[in-house]
């Protein structure tokens, strides 16, 4: 008992106990619990220490930063201190952004600790009394000004005594929430229109590792807080185009603020905040350049309903795009076969085909969602960036072609190969024709599809599924309509021997498609790809031949079957060889010979584009891929015709080509910024323009010429 009393005495005498015993300054208002806390339990005369106003904010409500944004008010603390004591201004934690019906506010939610450094009087004797009146505005939809009076009495001694570990932990945490000084120099320039652009010279940042970049200006006035900021990471650093604010005063010599960004590190996403002050650089007159990509003329911001409509239209138009031709050929063949059949058979066929298309799109939506949740990013046609996929599709085209040629008929013995299912008559065949149509359609982006896809890939799962299904419905619609409408069917020619001839003829587009896929493969892997693909095709043809030369259950038949299986396995083994072939690595790292033709074109990079635009040159950017037929057709009929080439030259256009045949994070980033999920994409910067114009996905010679002549006229 005596020991206990002694302990109690010691505790009572210790300053830490004194502080916790004296009521801490806590004010509970309707929406915020506020507490004035000190990092020291006892102060030393003249020695500065830190206090914090810790505010716990009701869920969904927020208080404000030093620059509150378009509305709101910063929290203020008015100190009443003894003679000779000093309180520094509030040191603010990094703010967050709140969007209230389109009005942008800067502030804090859940909990914030506003730190203030206090310097006690040099001649302090006895306790130090800190009195403060704080007022803050707390808002959800409605705003409520609240206030509180705080008092904290701290004993003084020969040395300062730290507060309890919990309190010190709170301060540690508060310091982690503060922005650090930016390690990079920053400057800013003002465009002719008066809009500032901030350049943080953080060289060597990886563009794909940095996201959610936002600059919180320290003051109301020079920068419009409501405008969207479309920051980009380039070779020169972080570039943030801003909009001028409402202050009438000239732009300040130094633009101060807090830069917040999220960095993808090995340990996950880390939010970083930096205080910086950018000097006005009169020589830096931003022209938009890479910065204002998202303001591109023609970049669509669309709603779900529009996306669904665009998807349906896009799916319909997809039927007319070159990449679906081979499948349409098959469909036409199937239809011809069905011609003259009963109405119900036709209808069943149409429904089965539609189901095949829709289920494939649904499966694709599933894959997209899965990849997105695993990898965070996904693009249209991404599967064609894999050489394995290209090879398998080449095989598929080849086998379907052989079937159409009549090399083999399917009696269910080759089941397991997609082609077998496709060429099987009746509903199963129709279903798998639908599946095949979707597989080959993916490298195509039809008009309207681009916007819808861009939307779909960036939306939550239900919207992604809905948009992709709408697209599938569009793709299946013409055939579905045909199979459902007897009047239309009557227009079909009567069945006859011509049907077989047509079918055999249609094998040739299939072979052509296989050739194209092999070419794509060579772009991805180099010349070795041809060896594996053609060798694989010989093996497959060999297997088919083996299976055809005998039926029955004789030993020979079984032997042949075994051999055939081995041949097919060997053909597929080529895919393993492909994946780790050194050629893949070489082309993936951007070997000069890889990808599409760069004759007369420069390789695209953001930095090069920014540079050319800044020089006031007209710039044309072609985002393309070897597996994108639409891209290649556009090049052939519009971009590479002599008249256009000459016009480009005369206008002094800088021609940049982005090759997306293989994965390329920079190009994927640009596509994403423009709300696109795939190629083709064409950008045109008129000289001195501060934003590019997005040209249609289907180019024509006259379209390009008229674009170019419009800048010629502007020049005069």
């Amino acid at each position: 008992m005596a020991r206990f009393l002694a302990l109690l005495l010691v505790l009572l005498a210790s300053p830490a106990f004194a502080q916790s015993a004296s009521a801490q300054a806590v004010v509970q208002t309707e929406n915020v619990r506020s507490e004035l806390v000190s990092e020291v339990a006892a102060v030393k005369a003249g020695e500065p220490f830190w206090v914090g106003l810790r505010q716990t904010i009701k869920p969904k409500w927020h208080t404000y930063w030093k620059n509150p944004g378009e509305s709101g008010l910063p929290t203020e603390i008015a100190w009443k201190l003894p003679e000779g004591a000093k309180a520094d201004p509030i040191v603010w934690p990094a703010p967050m952004r709140f969007d209230i019906g389109g009005i942008i506010n800067y502030g804090f939610k859940d909990e914030s600790v506003l730190l203030v450094r206090i310097t006690p009087p040099a001649n302090l004797s006895g306790p130090l009394t800190l009195a403060a009146e704080a007022n803050w505005l707390v808002c959800e939809d409605v705003c409520i000004p609240e206030e509180g009076k705080f008092e904290l009495v701290l004993p003084s001694g020969a040395t300062a005594t730290p507060a309890s570990p919990e309190t010190r932990a709170l301060f540690e945490q508060a310091r982690r929430a503060l922005p650090t000084q930016s390690p990079w120099p920053a400057r800013y320039g003002v465009s002719k229109a008066g809009d500032p652009t901030l350049l943080v010279e953080a060289k060597g940042l990886k563009a794909d590792a940095i996201s959610d970049i936002y600059f919180f200006p320290a003051e109301w006035g020079p920068v419009a807080t409501m405008a969207k900021q479309n920051a980009t990471v380039t070779a020169e650093g972080i570039r943030i185009p801003l909009k001028k604010g409402d202050a009438k005063a000239a732009m300040p010599a130094e633009l101060a603020g807090t830069l917040v960004l999220t960095e993808k590190t090995a340990d996950g996403r880390v939010k970083q905040a930096f205080d910086l002050s950018a000097k006005l650089d009169p020589a830096f007159v931003p022209t938009g350049a890479s910065a204002s990509l998202a303001n591109a003329v023609g970049a669509e911001q669309i709603s779900l309903v529009q996306a669904l409509l665009f998807a349906l239209l896009g799916g319909l138009i997809l039927n007319l795009m070159p990449c679906v031709f081979p499948v349409l050929a098959m469909k036409a063949a199937a239809f011809a076969r069905l011609a003259g059949h009963e109405q119900s058979a036709m209808r069943r066929d149409g429904i089965a085909y539609t189901a095949g298309v829709l289920i494939s799109f649904a499966a694709m939506a599933g894959v997209v969602i899965a990849i997105r949740s695993a990898a965070g990013e996904v693009s249209w046609g991404f599967q064609f960036q894999s050489p394995v996929f290209s090879l398998l599709i080449a095989y598929l085209f080849f086998v379907v072609g052989l079937n159409l040629s009549g090399v083999f008929e399917v009696g269910g013995r080759l089941a397991g190969v997609g082609q077998g299912l496709v060429s099987r008559g009746g509903t199963t065949g129709a279903f798998f024709t639908g599946v095949l149509a979707v597989i080959v359609a993916t490298p195509c982006t039809a008009p309207f599809m681009a916007a819808a896809l861009g939307f779909a890939l960036s939306q939550p799962a239900p919207a992604t599924v809905a948009v992709l299904l709408a697209m599938g419905l569009g793709l299946a619609l013409p055939y579905l309509a045909l199979s459902m409408t007897p009047a239309l069917q009557r227009l079909m020619p009567r069945p006859g021997p011509w049907m077989d001839r047509l079918r055999q003829f249609l094998a040739f587009p299939m072979y052509a498609s296989a050739v194209w896929m092999i070419w794509v493969l060579t772009q991805q892997t180099g010349a070795d790809g041809v060896l594996y693909a053609l060798g694989g095709m010989i093996l497959i043809a060999f297997a088919i031949w083996l299976l055809r030369i005998g039926t029955g259950a004789s030993t020979g038949t079984w032997l042949r079957r075994g051999l055939a299986a081995a041949a097919v396995l060997l053909a597929f083994a080529a895919t393993l060889k492909l994946d780790d072939s050194p050629a893949t690595a070489a082309s993936a790292s951007g070997g000069a010979q890889a990808g599409v033709s760069f004759d007369g074109w420069e390789r695209f990079s953001r930095a090069r584009m920014a540079e050319a635009v800044a020089e006031g040159k007209p710039v044309f950017v072609d985002f393309t891929a070897a597996w994108c037929i639409t891209c290649l057709v556009n090049e052939r009929v519009a971009l590479e015709v002599p008249a256009v080439r000459k016009a480009f030259e005369q206008a002094g256009v800088v021609k940049l080509k982005g090759d997306w045949t293989n994965r390329d994070a920079e190009i994927t980033g640009v596509l994403k910024e423009l709300g696109r999920a795939g190629v083709p994409l064409y950008l045109f910067w008129a000289p001195g323009a501060d934003r590019p114009k997005i040209l249609p996905q289907v180019l024509t010679e006259s379209l390009i010429l008229s674009e170019l002549s419009s800048i010629q006229q502007a020049k005069r």
């Binding site: 389109g102 009005i103 939809d141 705003c143 419009a224 909009k243 289907v698 008229s706």
Partner: protein, 213 residues
């Protein structure tokens, strides 16, 4: 005339895109000082239609309001707003209070409520415009209540910003603050340029309709 060369397909796609173009999202820019003030037409609490075009030749003040907003209350409880409304009326200025809170939001008023408020607060605007779809507020890029605008006799926007210079909810600050609107009105009526033509507006966030845009 090079446009005529554009093939039909492209034209077709182009026009479809225009038709389907989304409605403009929230205007992120407020009108510029020295430029024609955005036109508007709105009905007041007595059923009268007001159009900015009809007010040419008169100086016009716009005041966005939300009677439940503490900052609006600050200036009404202290009679600062009413005093300025009366001064303006005496000088032939048309002072329009605009109730821009969307239907169902804080500060939304019916015609009857608006008239009751004018009476109970002894306010003296030329009219209280009902703006339940926040159209007037949007046209002017108003972000808060009260957000103040002055339009000169030629229809030019000459002032936008706050009612005064001390952003607080305390009425005690009113005498200490520069009354921006009063000062600017004096300058406009004296034919002088407005010295502080764009100031920081402070108050409650304007209650725009909740849409997904």
């Amino acid at each position: 005339m090079s446009k005529l060369n554009v093939p039909r397909r492209t034209l077709l796609l182009g026009s479809a895109a225009i038709v389907l173009a989304p409605a403009a999202a929230f205007a992120t820019t407020s009108p510029d000082i020295g430029k024609p003030a955005p036109a508007f037409t709105a009905v007041d609490s007595n059923g009268k239609t007001w159009s900015l075009a009809d007010l040419k030749g008169k100086v016009v003040v716009l005041e966005t309001t939300n009677h439940d907003c503490p900052y609006v209350r600050k200036h009404y409880n202290a009679n600062n707003m009413q005093d300025q409304q009366r001064e303006a009326a005496a000088k032939g200025v048309v002072w329009l209070t605009v109730a821009s809170s969307a239907t169902g939001e804080q500060g939304h008023v019916t015609a009857q409520q608006a008239n009751d408020l004018t009476k109970s607060r002894n306010a003296a605007p030329a009219a209280v415009l009902l703006d339940p779809q926040s159209k007037v507020a949007r046209a002017y890029g108003a972000t808060v209540t009260p957000h103040m605008y002055i339009i000169d006799a030629k229809g030019t926007l000459v002032y936008k910003g706050g009612i005064d210079s001390i952003p607080s909810s305390s009425a005690a600050d009113i005498p200490k603050a520069t009354q921006y609107v009063r000062v600017a009105l004096g300058q406009v009526l004296a034919g002088q340029p407005v010295a502080d033509a764009s100031t920081r507006a402070y108050g409650c966030t304007l209650k725009y309709p909740k849409t997904s845009s």
